[in-house]
Amino acid sequence: MILDELILPVLLVIVVLVVGAYLVAVLDEAIAGALGMPRATSVWTAPLAQGAWLLTQQANATEAPDWRAWRLAPALYLALAAIGLAVVPFSPTLIPTDLVTSVVLWGSVEALATVVIFLHGWSANTLLALIGAYRYVALGLSYILISMFVLIGVALPAESLQFSQVVASQEGLWNVIRQPLGLPLFLIVGLGMTFWGPLNLADSRDLARGTASAVSGPPRLVWNLARAAMLVPSAARRRAPSWAAG
């Protein structure tokens, strides 16, 4: 009972989160290399070497930060990624937590991500991090709104707020055909929530990396890991219908 309903699901989430975040980082390196960015090390070792360097680097201080919030924010963001992953149906039988309200839970993860990202920028008590935080709050509200429409769009045909039911409802017709706008919009939300690629506006270069501009060492490693990890549940949720058809 404990093994099936607690230990195995937790292990599954941790393994998928870590391996998934690593693969996201590898893919990011590979795409950068394919686009002609100068690269010296192999795409497989580059994320590991970067992680090792951050582990050896000192975690710096700013003047009078809100220490608890500053250190907690990356960990909370990682925890939100784990919560999001916990309700992803990997197969008809492999679902870490098959909540009847899993669609609502994912919606709340997106809303709480806005709080956590703001906290990360605000608590550093420095200018550029604060502007990054403000910027994400303005954007995050838009992302949440889009995501709500997408989530409602999949919950209605399933007549359920349970992701396993949403997947089962696509046995006859995939949602990507029924609601073609849902997938691209969800992709945008995924990139926006993790401020990845062209939607990296909270940690952007014109803000010297925004909310992360004052972070170094292990806290920065956790932040980078959390951002990559948050892409994993978004990506996993998008591929779930493929087993429904099979």
Partner: protein
């Protein structure tokens, strides 16, 4: 054992370098941007090496010390064509541009293996505004709104909101002279409400920029127009590289830089870049009508900025050599950020067209009492330094608009020394070809 394994792995990471762009130090960073294994980072917190390239005036040494102390341990400094601070007299100094990437990689490896100790802190570890244990409640605050609670004065809204009536607290900070998104040397006192710039007071002008020696030679006698126009195109492409990098378009930024360092720089390469810029939305992103210069300000800014606002000012139209090539003065009307980049790209293309034609017909400049530099007309006097125009231009803009406006303006004065004299080689074909390989 575990630590040494971690250190060995860490040594394989790209070398994170925070660039301090000193006087005439810019060229070193173009080379490094194209070097595999070197990563130019945007925050000192993200670096293991502080690279100071070019001289830093003594009155900015304190600012440099503050940047130095922001790097987390273990870190080191490298001084390229620059005199180390007195406290760091034993730090590594280098004058050979070819040895720069190798030296950075060696320093990073030595730091990770423990062979090299971390650079010492230069400033006392205390807040600039003492607050601990002070004031009525021990947090530095006095009375209702006075003092410096937790090191900052109370954020009070003293000015009307310029945007939407959402009166956020005002925050006043000093930016520069080493903030990577500002022109090197530029410093300003800025008041922000949220991300909106309420006031901007320029305190220090940008460092002078060095031009290729051809522009100086053009004031001594005839020079080949082909070479002069290629030098102009290279200058503008390097500026475009900076703006694209700032906009997060890293791939296009590198493409612009590779073109700038390509000795066979051709119109075809620039046409491809223009297509990709259109597709990336760069012009749409900057086409918000922001950063518009009025007639008088545009004339003061000179060069591309003046022509982008409709001023028909270009010394080339006075030169018989250019007339022979059918030189046509290009202008835009809007005078805003997008217009300046459209003008820049059009001028790069025009320069390459003129270069190809002039090479074929072996045409030289005819007048040596003036020259059109990439920064503006140099006739009797140099193009003037115009950074104080930012004080009126930037208030009312959001942070990203202000930064993209700044990147589109070329306001620094011209250096009396050429690029070759200051140690920056104008064409390094090897760099472009190495990076492609």
């Amino acid at each position: 054992m575990a630590v040494s394994w971690l250190s060995r792995l860490a040594a394989q990471a790209s070398v994170p370098v925070f660039p301090v762009r000193g006087l005439h130090g810019e060229e070193a960073f173009y080379q490094l941007a194209l070097t595999p294994g070197i990563e130019l980072v945007d925050s000192p917190r993200h670096a293991s090496i502080l690279l100071v390239a070019g001289g830093v005036p003594p009155d900015q040494h304190d600012a440099l010390r503050r940047v130095h102390d922001q790097l987390p341990a273990p870190f080191a400094t490298l001084w390229y064509c620059s005199e180390p601070l007195a406290e760091l007299a034993s730090a590594t100094r280098l004058d050979d541009p070819g040895a720069l990437p190798g030296a950075l990689m060696t320093i990073h490896r030595e730091l990770m293996s423990g062979k090299r100790g971390s650079s010492p802190r230069l400033l006392p570890d205390e807040p600039p505004n003492p607050w601990e244990g002070l004031g009525d409640d021990g947090h530095g605050g006095e009375g209702m709104m006075g003092g410096v609670p937790y090191g900052r004065p109370m954020a009070m809204n003293m000015t009307d909101d310029l945007r939407d009536g959402l009166t956020l607290d005002s925050l006043t900070v000093i930016l520069g002279p080493f903030l990577p998104m500002l022109p090197p040397g530029l410093s300003a006192k800025v008041t922000l409400q949220g991300d909106l710039i309420q006031s901007w007071t320029t305190r220090g002008a940008p460092y002078p920029i060095a031009l290729e020696s051809l522009f100086f030679q053009a004031l001594q006698g005839p020079v080949p127009i082909a070479a002069l126009e290629r030098a102009r195109a290279r200058y503008h492409l390097k500026r475009l590289h900076f703006a694209l990098r700032l906009a997060g378009l890293d791939r296009l930024a590198l493409e612009a830089l590779r073109l700038a360092f390509d000795s066979h720089l051709s119109l075809k390469g620039v046409a491809i870049l223009r297509r990709r810029l259109m597709r990336s939305g760069f012009f749409r992103l900057t086409a918000t009508g922001q950063g518009r210069l009025d007639e008088e300000t545009a004339r003061r800014a000179g060069g591309v900025a003046a022509r982008a606002a409709g001023h028909e000012e270009d010394w080339r139209s006075e030169d018989e050599g250019y007339r022979q090539l059918g030189f046509l003065l290009l202008t835009q009307r809007q005078g805003d950020t997008a217009a300046r980049w459209r003008q820049t790209l059009s001028e790069v293309e025009q320069s390459l067209q003129l270069a190809a034609q002039a090479e074929h017909e072996a045409v030289h400049t005819q007048r040596s009492d003036g020259v059109e530099t990439p920064r503006g007309t140099w006739h009797r006097q140099w193009p003037e330094e115009a950074s104080d125009l930012l004080d009126d231009l930037l208030p009312g803009l959001e942070w990203d608009e202000a930064m993209s406006t700044l990147a589109s303006l070329d306001l620094a004065p011209l250096s009396p020394w050429s690029l070759e004299e200051t140690g920056g080689a104008p064409i390094t074909q090897d760099i472009g070809e190495e990076s492609r390989a």
